[in-house]
Structures are given as C-alpha cells and as structure tokens.
Symmetry: D3
Subunit: 237 residues, 6 copies
C-alpha cells in the first residue's frame, strides 16, 4: 500500500541530497510526499548567491524557494517552508507546536529528518530535536488524549555530509536505481550549491555498492541510506 512520506529539513535544500531518491521512489510506487523546510538556509547555506554584489536576504529566500520547489517537482513532492530563519535556527514552544501541527496535518507513514549530532552544522541537531519531539506530540501516548493524534509515523534519519562524525549508522538502504535520473535532475536545480552535486552523485553509487554487498542483489546501481530510529513491526523476518 502506498506510503505518505514527509521530509522535514533545517534548510530548503537538505531534502534533495539526502532523501531525494527515497521521495521519488515512494511517489513512483503510488505514494504522496511532502517536503517541509524549517528555513531557507538563506544566511548560512546559500554559498554562490552571496558572491553576488548587492545580494539581499529576501532575494536569497526567493531564489531558494524557487530552487527547492523545482527540485521537489522533479521528485513528485510538494514543498513548503516555515521560514524560521537559519544560522542559528531557533525553536521555542510555539514553533515546536507548529511543527507538531504540520506533522499531524500530513499524518505521514514515514517521517524523515536530520541526525541528532552534526559538528559541522549548528542547525541540523536543533532540527532533529524539534522534529523528534514534535513527532511524539503528534502521535501522543497511544491512548485517548486532550488533543488529536495520528498513527505513529516511522522515523528515519537521512545521511549527513560526514556520517561517521554525526552518529549516523546506515540501517536501511533504499534502492533508488529506477528514479536516479529524477534525483540528478533535482540536484541540478540547486545552483547555489553546485559542489554538492558531484559529491552526492558519488554517494549514490557507493550506497548502491553497499546495498549490493548487504543483499547480494546485483541489480541495485544507486542507493540512499537511512537510520531507522524506532523498531519496525513486521509480519516475518
């Protein structure tokens, strides 16, 4: 049965590099996908754009919105930004509840966000903390409560830039061979971060190698790796 997949990233481009394939695959299999950005990454992660003289925050946000929307389009997903600001991303009680509402509204089967540690990024761990807690608020305690609750989504962490330094252990490889072209197209939209396109194209190949090694399935060419946070419930091993 088709899945509802929701990706919540700290900055508007995170979903492309780290979960673009999984999003496209879910949609290809009949699912629905929504991408939420907590900020545009306008101050800290818009590299090339800030080389242009006279650049402004509002213009960067506008360009980043266009890029992210186009990228999500290649993957078959919708895109929305909560525009909380970046570097630093700050989450107070009200924003926490807003994220919980976003999760409650979409009611995802699969929820994807950052790792809890990232020594090279000040906003990623903040995003993890907020999304993880908001998930718990949206799903409730498994009993009737004073607020609406949803079926508990499965939580996955997507691959950070330097996995070994971010407490990231891949526990699930998704075979994204059949949607690889879509991920490449989505990455190509991120003109402000061109240096990452080669990097994540290589990672796709390498994760494909790892997936072949773990499964013995030689037809896997490209993979994307995730870390499952909660136990999986299955019909058989």
């Amino acid at each position: 049965m088709p899945k509802r997949v929701q990706v919540i990233g700290a900055h508007s481009a995170d979903f492309v590099w780290r979960a673009g394939g999984a999003v496209a695959k879910a949609v290809a299999l009949g699912g629905v996908a929504e991408v939420i950005a907590l900020s545009y990454g306008e101050r800290g992660e818009s590299g090339e754009l800030w080389k242009q003289e006279g650049q402004t925050l509002e213009n960067v946000k506008r360009l980043r919105h266009a890029e992210a929307s186009a990228a999500a389009g290649h993957l078959g997903a919708s895109f929305r930004c909560l525009d909380f600001g970046d570097y630093p991303l700050q989450i107070d009680g009200e924003r926490l509840l807003a994220i919980a509402d976003v999760i409650r509204e979409f009611a995802p089967d699969v929820l994807i966000t950052h790792t809890s540690v990232d020594p090279f990024n000040p906003d990623h761990p903040v995003a993890f903390g907020a999304v993880d807690r908001a998930r718990s608020l949206a799903a409730g305690a498994g009993v009737p409560s004073a607020f609406g609750t949803i079926k508990p989504p499965q939580l996955f962490l997507f691959e950070p830039h330097q996995p070994e330094l971010c407490a990231f252990t891949p526990t699930v490889h998704v075979d994204i061979t059949s949607v690889w072209d879509q991920k490449v197209a989505a990455m190509a939209e991120m003109q402000a971060q061109q240096y990452l396109q080669t990097y994540y194209a290589q990672r796709g190949e390498q994760r494909g190698n790892h997936a072949r090694r773990a499964s013995g399935r030689s037809e896997v060419r490209y993979g994307e790796s995730f870390m499952r946070v909660l136990p999986q419930v299955v019909e058989e091993l």
Copy 2:
C-alpha cells in the same frame, strides 16, 4: 516470496523461547525453517533433569534431543544438534568451518543467533562469535573465490533473558499473534525448564504491547523481538 530461516543456538532449547514465533510464522507463510543447536545444553541448562538421581550425560542428551525435536515439530521446523558440548562451549578452527558448512548447505535468507554479550551465560557469546564469523565465511566477499558462497543471509539476534545487560536493542518486532498457540505448545515441551514458560509467555504479551505502540496496529497481541545486525535493503522506506 517464502523465506528460508535458520536458527543457530548454543543449547538445544534456546530457539524455542527466543525465536519460536518467528520460526512458526515463516513456515506459516510458506517458508522453510531449520534449527541447529551447537550443544544440548546437557551440563549447564537441563535443570530439572539433574535433580533425578543417577542421571547421566547421555540420558540428558537423549531427553533434550527428544524435547527439542518435538518443539521444532510444533513450529514446523527441522532440528539438528552438532553436539559440541556445553559449559563451556568451545569452538576451534574445525568447528568454525563446520558451522560455515551448515550455513552454506541451508543457504538461509534469515539467520538468527545469540547476542554478543551475556553476563549470565558463558556459552551464548561464544556461539555468537562463531556464527557471525561462519556467516561471513559462507557468504564470502561478494566476489568469486576459491570456495562456494551463498547469497548473504540477513543476520538477526534473538532476545536474551536479560536484554539490557546483553547489548540487545530490539529493532524488529515480529507479529506472532497468529502462531502464538504453536509457540506455547513448543514451550510446553521443554519440561526441564518449566520456569521459563511463564516468563516467555509474559514477554510475548509485552512485546505485543511494544509492537502496538510502535506501529499503532491494535490487532497485534503477541510479539517477538530481534536485533538486526546488517543494513536492510528495501524498495521504499
């Protein structure tokens, strides 16, 4: 597609308490299951039997073989014992290769064994070390080699008696509701370890509770929990 499931335990009764439900479920879904015991647990784990005067090792082994075969029968699995001796279980180079051969011959999709730590059992960690290494020998390096290799099986660790002291984190709950009666019948065969029957019946209920909580699927009544060692390769999250 139906699975081939192989359980390798240190002693002849381990599979019943820890993986009986998963075995029965796999068979119920059309799979084939084989249980391998490295020893009968004849010296250290045959409690009630050693209360009988004049008891002998050979008689204990005979009785344990009968019990384990009957229990495996309730689950739809075959049973075989390598009879390496227990307390202590010792594995040398030759026995390591014998275990690799056993794995190679059955060519399991799913391989299940003990955790790597168990402060209350001297043989369980030894079994883990041997099975884990034998698995790696049987599957090879993913390239042609001087010996026959099989498709790499998925490795799972079953639940030890005191999980938190054994580095056991459940990452997969199997819904065993539909085969619960078979597990109860298999446990009832273990007359030498009666005190464990209540204990693992309660665990089945509790793991069912955990599975409901993680998935929101209220129809799960009984569960069995496992720890996946290697990454899973999937078509979608």
Copy 3:
C-alpha cells in the same frame, strides 16, 4: 539509618509503576518519602478519562490528583504536583529554580526520576534534564556558596516502559517482595491507565527473577529496577 526518598516524575502517575515498591520499602524501613509530579499528565496520559464526553482539563486534573494521592497513601508517601502542564512539558529558568527549591527543602538521600531518553514520550527526557540540573544546583559544588546547599542526594533513574530504547540499564534491583501488596493497591488506584496494571505486575515478577539470578537469593519474589547515575560510596565491596 532510615532514608529520605524523593521521586520527581513528569506526570502524576509515573511514580506508581516505576518506583512504587522502592517507595513503600523505604517507608517500611522507617524512611520518609515524597512524590512530586511536574504535571498531572492531564492532556496526554489520562487515556480512559478522555473517552468521557464533556470531559474538561480541570476535571481530569482533579481526578488525577485524587488518584495519585490515594496511590501515594498506599505507599506511605506524600504527593504534590507542581502543575507545569504536559504534552509538552516546558521548563524555563524559573521552573528550574522551583525544582531546585523542592529538592533543597526535602533534602533527599535518594532522588529518583526518568531516563534521559524516551522515544515514546515527549516529556520524560525534559523532566530528566530539569531534575538532574536542579539536583546539581541544590547540592552545589561541595564548597561554601552564595546559596544554601544540601548533602548531595544519590540519583537513580526508574524503569521506563521500553527500557532498551531508553538507554536504561538496570544496575540496582530492589527486593520489594514484602511490600508487593502495597504496590498492587497503589496501581489499582490508577483507573485511567488500567492497561498498565497487568504490565507492571508482570515486570515485578520478571525483575524478581533477575534479582534472584544476580544474587542467588531465592526468597526474592518481586523486584523493581533502577539505574544509578553517580558513584556509590561504601565501607566495603
């Protein structure tokens, strides 16, 4: 010498399931026990109550207060709620100091609270963080200071619902056999969470089994397990 035991939980019922036996035992041995709830768990953890039409927050809090007080009474402890609200529990600087004052006033020998991780509850880790920091503020740095300090209490974490997912390793089992009936009576007061009564009755038996196994003391029938956070100072091993 009799101990002063203080339990600080996120919600008004937490102490019953997780530390009811240890509280009753301390009182039975001549000690004094106080239970502090940071909230009533009125929004997220009052299951059955929210099935009643026209239910209100105030009524839920009133009923939860009555239940918790009655349960504490069975155990010989007093009960007080700081009423900070739940789902989400939020702690600012003022509330942190209020918790430190509560600890300073009671001056516990033994302080008990939640684990630092709980993927199935958004409030438990918040409670841990606040109580742990408040403890450190109440005890000071072991030197004269600008504020009153108490002898450093021993800090214990009580058992969460799914221990392996909460970084909980039991390091102390308390033999609660002699006060088991009191714990059962206290649990029976929690009419809004009936499904937990069977669950924690089974845990009591299982922890008794673990305690027997670790100690060889066959007379232990029921146990409750805790994780000690700070080193213990003893006269001999």
Copy 4:
C-alpha cells in the same frame, strides 16, 4: 607557525586548572592566548570567599576578576569575563550570538572549552553546548554567507575534575614541562579554591606519566590532557 589560542570557560577559574599549561606553552612558542569566562563563578564556585561574613556578590566578582587576571598574566594570556551569572548559567539567543562574536573577533586556531557532560556541575555542560554551537556559527558552512566567517578553529575539551564521569577520553597530551612553574604560579593565585592546587599539581605529574608511556619520551615530566572533537588534518601520520 605560532597559534592563536582561546579558552572559554563557564567560570573564571576553570582555565587555570584545566588548560593553564597549554596556554603558557602556546605563548612560549610565540602564540597569542585569550581567556574568556562566561561568569565569575561568583555564586557557586568561590568557596573560601563565602566563609567571610558580610560577603557580597559584587565583592566576590571583583576578587575573582583580580585572581583570574593575575593567573592569566602568569600564563601570558589576556582575560575577559562576559558576566552571564552562574548556578545556573543561562544562555539565550542573544548570548549565543555574543559568544559567536567573541570567537569571530579573536579568530582562534585552537578553541578550548568544557566537556558535554559533568554530573557534578550544572554550568559546564551548558557552557559546552553554547561554545560548540557558537563555534559552528562563527565558522559557517565553508561557503560564502550573509555574515562574516573565520577559518574553522580546532576544538578541544579540557580535563574535567572527574574525567571518567564526564565522557572525557584524553586524545592529546601536551608536554608542559617547560612551563610548569608558570602553571603553578597561576594556580597559586586562586586563593578561593586552595584545595584544588594540590589536586591539579598531582594531575600534572600523572598526565606526564601517561605521556611518557604513550610516546616513550622520557623527558616529559608534566602533562595536560585534552580531547579533540574534530578530525585533525596533517601532512603525514
């Protein structure tokens, strides 16, 4: 090439015990060192001073400022206090940005602060969290951004009072033999914390022993130990 070393501690005396030698050594080798205190430790860590009748917060801060300045002087470093208050140290968004500015202004090669855990101090982990995040904000993402950035400093954690309880593993020992007298002189200024002078003199000897053992260099008499947080980039192993 000479280094720029910046130490940021929660309280005004932390740098002396934990990094005094490394600071003096860097200066002796031609470097520049700056010590930043987030507070004076006026309420919680000024032991002897609070034994004096009629003592006031302002007087304690004045004395602590004098002590820390004198100690820094012995080491060849400057000293500055942000005076955020202690027990508890609280960091909001504005203070976080202030710390980032302090780092950005000094542009350190080497940045030194507390460990992320300290069960015997409520302010040290808060200081770590703030400094670590401020570092990441000051260095940016390695691309052009809306704010000024500096070359990423190397981050080190200095030795806490009880290392094994603070997740501290020494990964670097600095040979401070040639500046030992300066560290002793700096420690002697801390009249409010006399009991620590013997303690850290012994630690200096012991870390010297550990450094000899790790390196085989018998000329090391005194050492100071640190934990490196980020990978080191070198020309050869």
Copy 5:
C-alpha cells in the same frame, strides 16, 4: 555479615595497587580475602629486577612471589600464583577450567579482576575474559547442573593505570581511610615497581576527594574505585 573477597590478577603485583585497600578493609570488617595471580609478571612487569646482570626467570619469579606474599600479608590476605606465564598470558580450555575451579573452591561473595580493555597491557584483557567466563562457569545457570555451582559472586573491575583508555567508569568508591597504612605498607613491598608507589598514593587521595564529593561525607580521606559489572540486589535504595 563478613565477606569472602577474591582478587584474580594477570600479574602478581596487580592486586596491590588496584585493590589493596578494599582487600584490607574487607578483612578488617571480619572477612576473608584470597589473592590469585595468573602469572608473576616475570617477563614483562618486573622492571628493576631485569636491570641486574645475570638475572633469570626463575629468580624473578622467586622474588616476585616473596614480594606479593609479603604485600598480601600486610592486607590480611593469602596469595597464590597459577604461574601461567606472561607477555603473553595465554588461556586455553584447561586453564579456563582451572580458574573456574579456583573460584568454585573459594566461593567468593566478591570477585575482583581487570577491565576488558587496556591498550597499554597485552595480558589484562586476556585475564578479564578468562575470569569473567570462569565466573559464569562456576556459578552456573541458576539451576541444577552436571557440575557443582556456587552462589553467584558480585563481579568488580579494579582501577587500571589509565582509566579513561580502559573503558573504566568508577561506580563504587570504597572508603579505605582506616586501612590506608596497610595499603602503603603493601605497596612498599613492591620494590621492583617503585615508581608506582607515588602514583597510587596520589590516586588514593584523589579517589578520596571524589568519594567526598559524591557522598558529602567529609571524613573520607582515601578511596579506591571499582566498576560493578552486574546489578546489585538491595533491600532499599
């Protein structure tokens, strides 16, 4: 009630530095203590002795036996060496059973040995592995068995030379103030390892400081620290 304390070390002097106080304290409180050395440390740990020309293995062993016996005498314990050889210490099946027999014969309440990791010693982790497994064999599975079993001893790891590198976290501090002179006298017997006497005298003071800090008991002057491996069973927290 008085305790039976058994220390099993890789080399004949290990017990003095690491558990001498705990041994003397147990004896002072009416207990009985036995020290077992797996080897004399004759090849690798007899420093000064090998500076003497014409030194032989047999002579080193004779001198080490005399030293260890004298040291044990100061503490009130007996001493015995299994003489398995050192650098490397090797344990086969027969030696494993011999250690299990040594434990079974003494039937300790408290069993003390090395940590599982020690990057500066090739024999300590081997000793841990053997003693831990032998303990499990001696205590059995808590049910009748083909061999004699004893009540499960409590297992403690004593402090290694460089604790943070050996996965050692102190969980128990023993107050050894009243037997400090005995430990000093025992250490003085170790003439072949004089450099360690100052080191462990300082550690005694420091662990006293840590014990005061954890307990608030100002009368503790000297401490010895241990890591408890198995859960403790108590009457109250």
Copy 6:
C-alpha cells in the same frame, strides 16, 4: 624528522586502498615504509582470478605477490607476506609472537592496521586483534623486561570499506594531494579487484572535501582518513 611507517593488513591488497597515500606521503617526506600482509587473500579476495578455469591457490598467491609488490613499489615501500592463509585467517600463539617480532624488527613510529569490527569480512577483525596485541608485546610495559622492546609506535586504523558499520570514526585526515598519482598507479596494479579502483578514487576526493571543511585549507584535493587509537603527545595544541 622522517618517520618509519609499517602497515600490517590481513590480505595483500588491503594497504593499497586504505593507506597507499599515507605510505607514499611518508616516503616522500623522507621516511621508510614497510608493508606486511598476513595472507595473500588468495581464497576469499582474489575475485577476477577465480573466474579463470583451472586456477590454483599457488598461482593466485604468485600473482597476488607480484601485484602487491608492484603496488608497494609505486609507493616507495617494501612488501612482505607472512602467508598465514585467509578465509579464515587463524592466529595462534606462535603466529602472534611472529607478528610481534616483525614489529620489533622494523621498530615503526607509525603502525597501521584494520578496525576491530567488520561485518563484511571475517579476517579483518582477527588481524586487528593480533596486531594490536603484538604491538603491546613488542613495546612492553615501559620498563626493563626479559625481552627486547621498542619505543611504542603510534597505532592508526585505516579506513574500512563501510566505515559506519566498522566502528570507524576518522580522527586524522592526511593530505595526500601531492602523491595522488602514486596511489592511483598503485591501485591500478590490483587487476584482480578492479571494481575497487573507482570506489577508492572517489573516497580520496571525498576525504579531501572533509579535510578542507575541517581545516579551512582549500589546497587539499585528496585525503586519506585514519582513526588514532592511543593519545598523541604534542608540544602544543
């Protein structure tokens, strides 16, 4: 001052992919490098060769020797194989001492080997265990002993194929930009494992990216990553 670098791998090709750049760099800086293989990887890791009909173990070993020697030549290192056999690699007491002798003879400043965990290779962890223990035997306890000892080498673990699954955290990146062509040439010799050439060329680029990010040094193009096992002793941070 120039370094002596020794790499000890389980199979004859391991050094090329994982440490080829660090070896070439050390030699380029005036050092001396020796590569030791514990086996040829003849049975398990010689992929393409076993596709040839009539292939024999001896022929594979001969070809692997030629390849490894040629590769070492490109890097400026000598190559030697202990020929202990692979899949499984087995280490007994005699072989352990042989490895200690190899280390003692070369007296490396820098010693490099496998990680302690590798779920996709049965021989790598065995090699780690043997080399780590042999290192400790060769260096002794830092005091005179019955056998010759060397200055303790610094121990590094090289990058495994799937780092996150092998407990590998990069703590040192070596800038291998200036010797990149040599590493490429060495990799090209490994005709039996062609698929790895692309993989490790990409890794070289990615580790260069990581090194730039950690250091801010934009001139680093290619990197190789290692995990340091023992503390480093330095003149300044």
